[in-house]
Subunit: 250 residues, 2 copies
Amino acid sequence: MIQIIPIKGIPIIKEGDDLGGFMVEAAESQGTPIQDGDIIVVTHVAVSRAEGRTINLDDVEPSRFARVIAEEYGKDPSLVEVVLREAKSIVRMGGGHIIAETRHGFICANAGVDKSNVPGERNVALLPEDPDLSARRIRERIRELTGRDVAVIISDTHGRALRDGEINVAIGVAGIDPIRDRRGETDLFGYNLKVKRTAIADELSSAAELVIGQANEGVPAAIIRGYRYPKSEDATSKRLIRPKEKSLFI
Amino acid sequence: MIQIIPIKGIPIIKEGDDLGGFMVEAAESQGTPIQDGDIIVVTHVAVSRAEGRTINLDDVEPSRFARVIAEEYGKDPSLVEVVLREAKSIVRMGGGHIIAETRHGFICANAGVDKSNVPGERNVALLPEDPDLSARRIRERIRELTGRDVAVIISDTHGRALRDGEINVAIGVAGIDPIRDRRGETDLFGYNLKVKRTAIADELSSAAELVIGQANEGVPAAIIRGYRYPKSEDATSKRLIRPKEKSLFI
């Protein structure tokens, strides 16, 4: 059996806060202290806030291009400017959306720039500079405080190209191989599995969203307990990015 | 806290089997009887087998087009023929993959035709004719046997256009609204959520895969317990299909 445990009672995170320490303390306070083998999933907005990766749109001077795009698509010119600054390339514009490739290589709406759960009407959260590094730091901090060996996943909410609605996926990982490669395994009838590379870090992020999801409850993190994951000391979320030469759709 | 409980000890399903009955019995035998509000996630291959939706490739006469495609892409001509029969349209062919739109409207590899966990080297499983109906029947059967009101989700493994690796998603639902619409809700700071429609049926399918995943263990179903889902008596997985006019990618 697997348990998905919300970590409640974490204060609202601000720049410089010890997010790892807050999670350790909150998990202990609610009677579910972090254990060896736990997977800690934390939303990127909490990480971005702790790292000071927020920006006030009033401080942003939109470029000429950002103004043109904003007018064309009915968006805030300063928001468009921030999106453009966070983007490595634009995949598609239309229907009020800017789908962009982030500097990390993720393809998502608004290059991951997020208006939810950031204090102030004009503040937005950017993605962490290096989400894998952010995950590693939190993992180290948890080890330092508790001696426990855990995996850490930083999650974000993504739309999908081929399905409606959004799901949570992993944008940073530490201690866990984000893809479980089953190509050598056999099925129930001894048939060799040809194609089966499961994006477990994305599935774990989606599972965690089930307790994190309620937007206004302030649960930025969850513990997933009882899942035996493939450990990795040099894990990177880059494995979840589909190589462009293998793209079937864009 | 949410629990993900594998339903173990279900016999290998064959045509005409009472899958709902097997799940009720197995859940009881392992000491986790089904409760009101449980979400039962079952893989489509088990459902397809119970419904006789399997086919022996030796009984299939490939068309001329199927032979051409098979030669071009190094595939089995009979498998290509089955894929074409299951498809409403072909989205893309390349790199050894046929990405097709199924008659239900799902876009996935091989139109959902599956070689894993089907007995016999030459047998393949098709998707259920009407996965929502299949889910409703299982839900009714569980209610009949236990008096419990549950949600049922039929899951399948899908690749993604924009990310590497596969995840589990919902292709049939009963009793649960597959999308949680949060557009009216406010975030932690009272900011109104503009775009937030969470594909919870897909997230639940991915969560269930964490216990179903091991290919050769024969766990075709899981109970997710403790998640308060939006109930719906006329739920349909069609809500998870992105309307073509809203497509940003294809």
